[in-house]
Amino acid sequence: MVRSRDTDWEGVRLHVVTGKGGTGKTTVAAALALALAAEGGKVLLMEVEGRQGIAQLFDCPPLPREERKVAVAPGMPGRAGGDVYALAADPESALVEYLETFYNLPHAGRALNRLGVIDFVTTIAPGLRDILLTGKAAEATRRRVAGRPVYQAVVMDAPPTGRIARFLNIATEVGALAKVGPIRGHADTVQGVIRSPQTAVHFVTVLEEMPVQETLDGVAELRGLAPGGLQLGGIMINMVRPVELADDQLAAAAAGRLDVHDLALGLKAAGIEDSSGSAGNLGLAGSLAVELTEHAREAIAQRGQREVLADVGQPCYELPLITDGMDLAGLYRLAGALREQGAA
């Protein structure tokens, strides 16, 4: 497909999106999928944690076990937007599918279930569960019909930052477990996709200390993996609120050095008259000054976190806080912001 411009992630077809809980990982993954589909084609948005977060986000019934279209991308002038498909991948059906595809065992699933093997593989056996899920992503990325990729990109709403390195490092994990055999072979194939330039891992964070720290830890962990490790993607700073104060006001406000009398005069000029007279207005001004101080301290703390993230050396993208509830319009806005900044 001829794209209208270059993006920061040309050649990447599997976008793995991780982030600390509460940072809006699923939302950003969905926005990225919409952004990637903006110039047409099909993009698959895939979740792996059984939370049905995508269905909630797009306000549709729980996703079935097969891929289903959930949205049409915003599109461009003179060009219709592409389609976003979604899949809630679960290890059980991935296992059954794997057995069917590779071993020609069409009815193995039921028998395995009755034996407790499915339970074993999907909840108890470490590493196997992860390889089934990453395997599904790799399969969707590689899938071709008539020589052409079915999906121009796959976006995975991956496990949180604390678990991402282990989740993606399955070949090593499984390798220690199974030195030979079909699992090992499958693991190597999956690893081949995950560790190729076709895959990038993006981190979602908000400008707070702990999520930023977890981002740094996650980045360090991925960088620490064996040579030829995983390709780091961008840092997506979510829920950014504009700073309302100019620099010198910010410092004064943060230090609690605001002129409350001046503020009270301003309130009076604005026609706000407290019922208890000028003393009441002064009290109100004091309360508003407290709010300004909190805002300023938050803004200064956020500025510090932004600098820390810039030092990581990966492209940073900023996404505005959507205050009036997240819906398709909100997702379109975030997708637009990602495209404007070259993330997609």
Binding site: K20, G21, G22, T23, E49, G50, R51, G53, Y98, L99, L112, L115, D119, F120, T123, I124, A125, P126, G127, R129, P159, P160, G162, R166, E173, A176, L177, A178, G181, P182, R184, E209, M210, Q213, E214, D217, E244, L245, A246, D248, L258, D262, L263, G266, L267, A270, I272, A285, S287, V290, E291, L292, T293, E294, H295, R297, E298, A301, T323, G325
Partner: protein
């Protein structure tokens, strides 16, 4: 849930007021022996657990805080450089330890906990054999469920040690916050499952009798297992299961004991949420699940709310005033040192007031949205008491910060 139209204005008037969760009473009650903090990821569970522990200790309890989070967050907020698998004392600053209480904190090291179980419950030779098994090594350091079992195990250990009169535990950051409740059952299901019997069959005396029930689908499934896992891994699993066979029973028994312990009145579950749709949805699931499992729920802690100290000034009035003030600015004789609206032709005379009023309007809107979400929760769970904790402008990373959060519990 009935649809709530925020625009109708009628529901806003009939405010649903949840009962206040009296955190101090809970902490002070000597019958409270275990507090479990649960909720979805990123809602501040660990910080809340630490703040509860600190407050209880400063009010005279002997407290241990157990965190299950692999990040070193609790260590950070308690000013400890590292936490290992043993409870470490957290020194209470002068003037705060007069109640005679004490505080310990520990972070779960699931591999160490698992190793210790193996070492405690089998002879040295067998223990060495298990610890060296590749399948065991992978199982004991994986996050897929092991963390939940080990959290239950450690909680049981701490309770049996009886050195503390209050244990505050922070639940694992699972993909579903409910996972740890399922851990004992899942373990039982696995151990009683036919797979284990199948895998251990060759090592059991009764294998001949057992083989009688082997039918076609078992044969096919065994074939599938071998195909998928490969013979070497299958052998490791068999060795592992055989080695653990004797120990597993006790392990399961203890997990079930801990599960029952959680159902006793000495335990209090606190569900933590932030006023956001996802977090409150998880909180709802949790409340329902706890009642299903007959677990004692103490209440909801609504974290990071944004109350306004100037709530009497409404968002609409504040915004209107900001606009009026902005419009009234007409070439003021006063020079504005730095003006938020410097690019507009007519600078307002009171730039700070304009900013303050705008910010206030935003904050009131945010507070209203948060209140609506909280009310939806209360409408669905009217019996659940709620405590609110205001958002802190900066991150908490010391005892003073934790204490401040503790004080807001008391304020409700």
């Amino acid at each position: 849930m009935p649809p709530q139209d925020s625009a109708s204005g009628t529901l806003g008037e009939v405010e649903l007021r949840p009962n206040r969760l009296e955190v101090d009473r809970l902490l002070d009650d000597p019958r409270t022996r275990i507090i479990v903090c649960c909720g979805s990821g990123g809602v501040g569970k660990t910080t809340t657990a630490a703040a509860l522990g600190l407050r209880a200790a400063e009010r005279g309890r002997h407290v241990v805080v157990l965190t299950v989070d692999p990040a070193r967050r609790l260590a950070q907020s308690m000013g400890l450089t590292s936490l290992d698998n043993t409870p470490r004392p957290v020194p209470l600053p002068d003037g705060h330890g007069e109640g005679g209480g004490s505080l310990h904190a520990m972070m779960l090291d699931m591999k160490r906990t698992f190793d210790e179980i193996v070492e405690t419950h089998s002879d040295p030779d067998r223990a060495a054999q298990i610890l060296a098994n590749p399948f065991y090594q992978s199982l004991s350091s994986s996050f897929a469920g092991t963390q939940e079992y080990m959290a239950m195990e450690k909680l049981g250990q701490l309770r049996r040690a009886d050195e503390w009169d209050l244990i505050v535990v922070d639940t694992p950051p699972s993909r579903s916050a409910l996972d740890f409740l399922d851990a004992p059952q899942r373990l039982s299901r696995f151990l009683d499952g036919r797979l284990i019997r199948l895998l251990t069959a060759p090592t059991r005396v009764s294998s001949r009798a057992y083989l009688k029930v082997v039918n076609a689908w078992v044969g096919m499934a065994t074939g599938a297992v071998t195909k998928v896992l490969g013979t070497q891994l299958l052998r490791d699993v068999q060795t592992f299961v055989a080695a653990l066979d004797t120990m597993f029973g006790g392990f399961r028994e203890r997990a079930e004991d801990t599960y029952r312990l959680l159902q006793t009145p000495g335990t209090a579950f606190l569900v933590i949420a932030t006023p956001e749709p996802d977090a409150l949805r998880e909180a709802s699931y949790f409340v329902e699940r706890l009642s299903q499992d007959r677990m004692p729920l103490a209440g909801l802690i609504l974290n990071r709310v944004h109350p306004s100290p100037a709530a009497r000034l409404s968002a609409a009035r504040s915004l209107a005033a900001a606009e009026a003030l902005q419009a009234a600015g007409n070439g003021s004789p006063r020079s504005m040192p730095n003006d938020a609206a410097a690019d507009t032709a007519e600078a307002p005379r009171h730039p700070l007031a304009v900013t303050a009023l705008r910010l206030h309007a935003e904050r009131m809107q945010l507070a209203a949205a948060e209140r609506r979400l909280a009310q939806r929760f209360t409408a669905a769970h009217p019996g659940v008491p709620v405590a609110r904790v205001p958002a802190q402008p900066e991150d908490v990373h010391d005892l003073a910060g934790l204490r401040k959060i503790g004080e807001s519990f008391a304020a409700g």
